[in-house]
Symmetry: C2
């Protein structure tokens, strides 16, 4: 029996207790997790473990920006505990009746939401994801198997210990939430192929991680989070709004998936828009990589854009720019290079707004507002487990509901076919 | 460029026209397909091609029951055409607004159903699936790439030619529907890995086909149709109803996925129920494979059941039988052996009915009615593309809605974060 099979069997035994637990019971677990995370002695243990991870990271010469992602502080731990409490306020999707009917033969049919069963999550360095993901799974009635980055293993173990004790204190089996402590590549692949035990796998991280999961997994996967997002400035756009939205999308937080990577601009407005944009983006020293026509307008401040630039999620103060001849050309460019996350048109034309929203095939299609709003909280879903960029099951921000499946309950009095 | 890439590129070009087509336009294609299938000369061509397939099958010594699945007749072609017309009456899911809200900052959010894009379907011998699958894809706004069994290749080509001409006659690109004419294993694997081109893959067929797709695919898969279905006869069951439901589930059409394979019976009712069941099942000469206690009650007419029998989808006049000590034991047995398709409890106990429906983790959980009702038509969905036994995206009978995804449309007036 391989390592993942052991975790899978434990999860299979544990999950039953949670699948039929009441909302009150699930909220009590979350409150207990928050309470224990805030206890002084646990905080000490978690911070000490985190120090170990940081020391290892420094020994291995990891960049300071990555070290910062790893770091836990008293404040951050408070924030993580607060997030658990916020989850208790969200509606419990389990048991909701979505549809129902009485069939002509008198059978009563209802389609109800139920937990998936066991959710697997593979993520990278931030240790807060360990608590976020576990608590989302608990609230949605699922057992969780979490595989975090090896850089955060000490922090994750410490956080997991506190959470598992909280689960046990509420009378539930600890194995509702399990950490994959063996962070070898081999066990990671075992996890991707554990379709007998894991009902859905959610990779959270960079494009490399996501692709590795898609290529290897036999467990159904929900791809998340790679966002090569576009803004298209239509010829009728309000220039001030277009500058605002492009600036906000690029510079408010460039490292996240809903940040802008490419600005497409209609040729009829390019000469007025591009200088205003360049001026605004100077504030954050954004590097512009533009097409030939962009360079003709902006001159030396533009680096020539390559094909590869249009396909890249920079996650940095870099913006690809291209002048296009028409709305069609913009939609076609997006169809070719987008990862299907979030795109925006800035326009005063009713017709063009409608066409853009109809024809662009991405999870979130905006008219005249920032792509930075693609987020579970901003959409009113409460917490989110990630942003799906695939089309199966969930698309866009995934809340608690997206961690559930459905089943049909059919009640009769002896009906046969 | 490999074979599947060519099909994928053609589908990508063609799909746009259908994604934004009106319901009226899509219905007109379906009507035109039906009209052309009914034309004498086309019927001749299709029947002649079908004769070729049947001759090949006989040469290859294929069993007569399989040859019958392959066979098309004038009546069957009429039936296929009728099914296209019936589809025109079903509600079009595309464009439906599922949820919507106005965010505190004034942004308007709506979540709307849109086509998946390109749907791949891999199926086995029945040529009628070629038309069913293509027409379901058209109605739901999707381009289709269909890979049927090689035994039916001549019939499939003939059917596809008629359908593609109908598509073109309605002013749409023929490549909306494409047949994989190269039925080699190599191209089949290319199809499973064509995630760049195909948005979802639906395998329809036996357990071997489904497993091969799950193991190889990088395209998101919806598993369908393997049904190791159970009926549990509770101690409080009405014996006549229990016999009726077991008989109906087993014998009304044993070759389909919602037929019963195992009967579990509570020990307190076993001595009254089993002889009555055995008597009824004699009519269809059903072979009983039972546990030790079943044999004690029924004697020689019972073949000893092996572990393997409980795990097998017989699709034949064979029923596995097991006497259990409790509802819990029945639920546990189902948890271990079921494929998650359809299960039934026969009971007069409110409490046991409720527990069974809550704790059994299958797509369709019945109280006092036959598992044979798990079907898109019976559930009121109209046509179905298959019955999903997985938990992602769709579970249970999949209608048109399950061939769509969603996108968020967000409209604002300059909102930034």
């Amino acid at each position: 029996m391989d390592y993942m099979e052991q975790l899978g069997q434990r999860a299979a035994l544990a999950k039953k207790s949670l699948a039929t637990a009441s909302t009150g019971e699930k909220n009590r677990i979350l409150e207990e997790i928050a309470r224990r995370l805030r206890m002084g002695e646990n905080e000490e243990k978690i911070l000490a473990a985190n120090e170990e991870d940081i020391a290892h990271a420094r020994e291995n010469g990891i960049e300071e920006v990555m070290v910062d992602r790893l770091r836990l502080t008293r404040d951050r731990i408070q924030g993580i505990a607060d997030a658990c409490i916020q989850l208790t306020n969200l509606e419990d999707p389990v048991g909701q009746i979505i549809e129902g009917s009485v069939r002509p033969n008198g059978m009563k049919l209802s389609k109800v939401r139920t937990p998936m069963g066991v959710v697997g999550i593979i993520y990278e360095s931030r240790p807060n994801v360990t608590v976020d993901a576990a608590s989302l799974c608990i609230k949605s009635g699922n057992a969780a198997i979490l595989r975090g980055g090896k850089e955060a293993i000490c922090s994750n173990k410490a956080l997991m210990e506190v959470m598992r004790e909280a689960v046990a204190a509420c009378g539930f089996p600890k194995d509702l939430i399990q950490l994959v402590e063996d962070t070898s590549r081999e066990v990671s692949v075992q996890m991707m192929k554990a379709d007998q035990w894991i009902d859905v796998l959610v990779p959270r991280g960079g494009a490399g991680l996501i692709q590795s999961v898609v290529q290897n997994a036999t467990v159904p996967v929900i791809e998340t989070g790679t966002g090569n997002c576009h803004i298209y400035i239509d010829s009728s756009a309000d220039i001030a709004m277009a500058v605002n939205l492009t600036d906000n999308g690029k510079t408010q937080r460039p490292s996240v998936c809903n940040a802008l990577e490419t600005c497409l601009v209609h040729r009829d407005i390019a000469e007025r828009f591009l200088p205003a944009l360049a001026e605004r983006l100077k504030e954050h020293q954004v590097e512009l990589r533009g097409c030939r026509r962009t360079a003709q307008i902006l001159g030396e401040q533009v680096v020539p854009a390559t094909e590869q630039d249009y396909a890249t999620e920079f996650l940095d103060y870099i913006l690809a720019v291209r002048v296009v001849d028409s709305l069609e050309e913009a939609i076609e460019h997006i169809g070719r290079y987008s990862t299907g996350h979030s795109e925006c048109i800035v326009t005063e034309s009713y017709h063009n707004a409608k066409r853009f929203q109809e024809e662009v095939d991405s999870a979130c299609v905006y008219v005249n507002c920032s792509t930075r709003f693609t987020d579970g909280g901003e959409f009113g879903l409460g917490a989110e487990i990630g942003i799906s960029t695939q089309k199966l099951h969930a698309r866009g921000p995934m809340g608690l509901k997206e961690l559930t499946t459905v089943k049909y309950l059919i009640s009769g009095d002896g009906q046969i076919r």
